[in-house]
Symmetry: C2
Subunit: 151 residues, 2 copies
DNA sequence: TTAGGTGCAAATTCTTTGCACCCTG
DNA sequence: CAGGGTGCAAAGAATTTGCACCTAA
């Protein structure tokens, strides 16, 4: 699917290398390639999709390594997960504040930014629940491609 | 967990009965009890949790009936799903516009309302993706109960 | 009566784990 | 060289499906 600019990918890879060193985890080929694959995709692939992309460069990687790598990256705060609509977990290497458009028909996810949404103050009701780590808007709809297929 | 007022539960049940008749689906005990269980819970249970609640009244219901009923209710627009943080799908009988606070440690989900969020106009970028069916804010954090357990 | 619904159990799908070998640091 | 990391295969968990019986309309 869509791709991220090379400069941004390199920047993210650099961040990963730094964080890995600091956390004392090894920089294996597999981890680098899994992260590169995720960091350069514009949509939000699941583990299986990432596996296929990585296998083009490392034919022997296995699905379990992809999962282990993803959760490791997630623990390091380098990626985040996003919830499925009835399918599997998806991953996101964009840790800057942003929001999601999700197609309920095909599962496509696209990022967008919105200063307006970011500017809304946290409702006081939420304080009563607990601390806040992150917040984002999820917009559900039918993407143009799916709409075209089912008139 | 928390409970919804009886009057609201009855209102939701009435809506279900009307929608079921209109859609031509049968009002079985199982369906009524699954919907009642979901409609009266304040948090957002998964299928297994609902099963346990319903079994108090209908000891023979099975998990697959709970799933079938939930997807049927979802198709009818009477409930919606919400994405997991690494666990299973959860269901929500509150179809009024509202937002979610999610504890990343225990999975607790609480609803809240926010006129401020509702008032933000849809970013123009989103128009390019496709149509919009719904939108909500998801706030992630650590709930007070989990925070108390891990100082 | 009768088509749709249910319960059971088996099948699928997705994800995690145990273990022996491998490779980064 | 040592300990974490990997691949494989098998285990687990969550959800779906086939089928014969049941029940709401």
């Amino acid at each position: 699917m869509g791709n991220i600019e090379d400069s941004e990918v390199e920047l993210r890879l650099g961040r990963f290398k730094g964080a890995a060193k600091q956390a004392g985890v090894k920089l294996t080929h597999q981890r680098l390639e899994v992260f590169r694959e995720l960091a350069s995709s514009l949509d939000h692939p699941d583990a299986e999709t990432l596996l296929h992309g990585v296998q083009a460069r490392l034919p022997t990687v296995s699905l379990d390594t992809v999962y282990r790598t993803l959760w490791m990256l997630n623990n390091l705060g380098l990626i985040c997960t996003l919830g499925p609509r009835r399918d599997s977990v998806r991953f996101d290497a964009n840790v800057a504040p942003h929001h999601h458009y999700v197609c309920v028909a095909c599962g496509l996810v696209r990022d967008f930014e919105s200063a307006d949404f970011n500017a809304v103050p946290m409702p006081s009701r939420v304080e009563g629940f607990g601390s806040v780590v992150a917040s984002h808007v999820e917009i559900r709809g039918i993407c143009d491609e799916c709409a075209a297929q089912q008139p």
